[in-house]
Subunit: 405 residues, 2 copies
């Protein structure tokens, strides 16, 4: 079950997928803002979407199309989220997928779509529509996937991509993912889009099963600011062109594929947190000893979302009382005198109070690091969960107070 996490390279290829990108004019300054991926017949698809009740038109469309399980194309734009535009926005999304279907001569319901960018501005659908013929001509399996990752960026400081390779019965399987997201990041899910491509063959049901598990262990652990977007989308496409079948009757193959998919999703999720708007530090919050998993997740995400904890990380300030205070208001039943908290190997809280041997210089040394591990043991049960977050800095304010300027 060895998984090889492959460093980014322009030689990445995933059999069964061709793509092209362009600057269609949705974004200013001639930045790439459109990605078209074309897929071979019998490609299967699975998807997970935002839990926000206000959703973008593309999310509604993808949800409806997922049931038939087949995908032949994906069209993604950055620069405009096409949300809260009412019937006009729904028609724009529909028109764009119809045009893709016509260009590629494929069934309309096999075209998937995603949008990211400003919320509530009219979606200028004429621009991507006008760009489609040329995009179609440029489709190729020879492009660098970096271009695809760049085309879906908004406030991202860097493109995000990951590749895992595993072997099933001696045959190679590839899983390649791209993602965008830097703010509005919160479980269930982030303002994030991620698209994963594999050359394995899986039924839509198997693919959905693996995706739900992988998302729960990756993107749902990434917290930047606690805002949940209207557009969050993770889609996974399986072309089967690598020749390996992943079938429930072959548990080892299933487990190997699951691990590879989780590896790719985890790499992308950690990249999103690293690129958290204004972030300078990567922080892992690991909670153990909770009554159950849900309580562990609540405590971990409450600490990860606390502005006071996040600014303490930004200031390299071992003001650890803020961590204990956030645990205290998480809203889950606690036995306060059972709580232990560690910053890396330094124990700061023992039995709910300041650890007797704690020296502030020890805490300060950990807080000055670029990567910080916070371990919180609630001492009350078997529940555990880990989340990833970043610090809250002046950079976050600058990016979000001026995002549209």
């Amino acid at each position: 079950m060895a998984i090889l996490e492959v460093p980014p390279s322009n030689s990445w290829k995933i059999p069964g997928f061709r793509f092209a990108t362009c600057a269609s004019g949705i974004k200013t300054n001639n930045r790439t803002d459109l990605l078209l991926v074309a897929m071979e017949p019998e490609t299967t698809v699975a998807g997970v979407f935002t839990q926000n009740q206000v959703v973008a038109a593309p999310v509604t469309l993808c949800r409806a199309r997922l049931s038939q399980g087949q995908a032949r194309a994906l069209i993604v734009n950055s620069g405009n989220a096409n949300v809260a535009n009412g019937p006009q926005g729904e028609q724009a999304a529909l028109a764009l997928t119809q045009a893709v279907a016509q260009q590629l001569a494929i069934p309309e319901e096999t075209v998937f779509i995603a949008s990211t960018g400003v919320i509530g501005e009219y979606f200028p659908v004429d621009r991507p529509l006008a760009a489609l013929p040329k995009l179609n001509q440029n489709l190729s399996d020879q492009h660098d996937w970096l271009e695809a990752a760049q085309a879906i960026m908004t406030t991202d400081a860097f493109p995000k991509m990951a590749l895992a390779r595993c072997d099933v019965d001696g045959q190679p399987v590839h899983v390649l993912g791209i993602a965008k997201g830097a703010g509005m990041i919160h479980p269930n899910m982030a303002t994030m889009l991620s698209f994963v491509f594999t050359d394995a063959a899986l039924s839509p049901e198997s693919l959905q099963h693996h995706l739900v598990r992988a998302v729960d262990r990756s993107f749902n652990r990434a917290i930047v600011d606690g805002d949940t977007s209207t557009n969050d989308t993770v889609l996974v496409f399986a072309s089967g062109r690598g020749g390996v079948q992943i079938h429930p009757s072959h548990p080892t193959a299933m487990e190997t594929f699951a691990t590879a998919l989780e590896s790719v999703c985890g790499q992308l999720a950690r990249a999103i947190v690293t690129d958290g708007e204004g972030a300078t530090k990567f922080v892992t919050i690991a909670v153990t000893g909770a009554a159950n998993h849900a309580d562990a997740r609540t405590v971990a995400s409450t600490v990860a979302k606390s502005p006071l904890v996040k600014t303490a990380f930004a200031g390299s300030d071992p003001n650890w009382g803020r961590i204990l205070a956030a645990v205290g208001y998480a809203g889950v039943p606690l036995q306060v005198d059972h709580i232990d908290i560690f910053l890396d190997q330094v124990q700061i809280v023992a039995g709910g109070v300041r650890a007797p041997n704690y020296q502030e210089a020890q805490g300060a040394a950990v807080m000055a690091q670029k990567e910080i591990n916070v371990r919180i043991n609630l001492g009350s049960g078997p529940g555990k969960e880990t989340v990833w977050t970043c610090d809250l800095t002046h950079g976050y304010i600058s990016i979000n107070a001026d995002y549209r300027s």
Copy 2:
């Protein structure tokens, strides 16, 4: 039932209360950090405290003493919160109240105590203990209440005080309050301390009844950063020395007093939000049309806590889609196509989508104001709630990344 909200003045007097302040050395740079208030016999007391499960030693002590309903003294320090210090912290709080009781020759259980400041550092109890004899000598009803409000400040930019005067059967009743708090501000409750003094006479039970209602309509509506402190305390003391009895058998008097108390608490809560760490704008979020009051409060506080909404206010950016997105992830059942949203008089969302006549210049004009009213009508029922919040700025980061430096 006319309530007179009296502008701050150094001539405020509340019969039955004497106080003194000093710099005991808990804070650096010789800043005042200790307040002692002495009260006449038969003064009654009521209190409301943090809902954080990790609580400061003074909160535990006050809760236990509230049951007997009588108060003769209040001792408050700023600069150290005395939380998570274990038995040592509890003994320090107890020792301080014992020393106050001894100095004033009053029963120990009538001494109330509150602390605010850094969490998790040992409480240097020797310093306030050493200051007590001189504080006792300086007790006077001639001091300016501004001094009391200043003595309890931490990161506050300005002292907070409010006075309301009302008449019951032609007799004047005074309610005077002081408060501190600027960050870690969230309902149930803020890092805030507030102490209210009245010359009316009320039973402890009546006083508690009025306080719970007033806090729910004032401090519990104030949101700065969503962090809930370990030390939040609101205490109200009634000396009865103004000669007016507020008794449940006299409903008009009860209602008049309730209104005056709510007025004072509301003024203090709004002052706390205005002084929100780094805040440059005061924002009122009014939700109507929710299925019930709890849903309205959840939606209002989700919007008020959203870092993306708060940075949009900071940037005077009419990026109103962030408001709709926050409503969408609040977690209450919504009929999205019933939602209307207004910025002051400008309708930005109608029936869940961008209002047809909305022009961005209109939104920009409202967002540039120092005071902004956001009205959200969910169109689904009678539930409503209003909360107050502020913008999220570079100032917040500077204050909290460097708080202890």
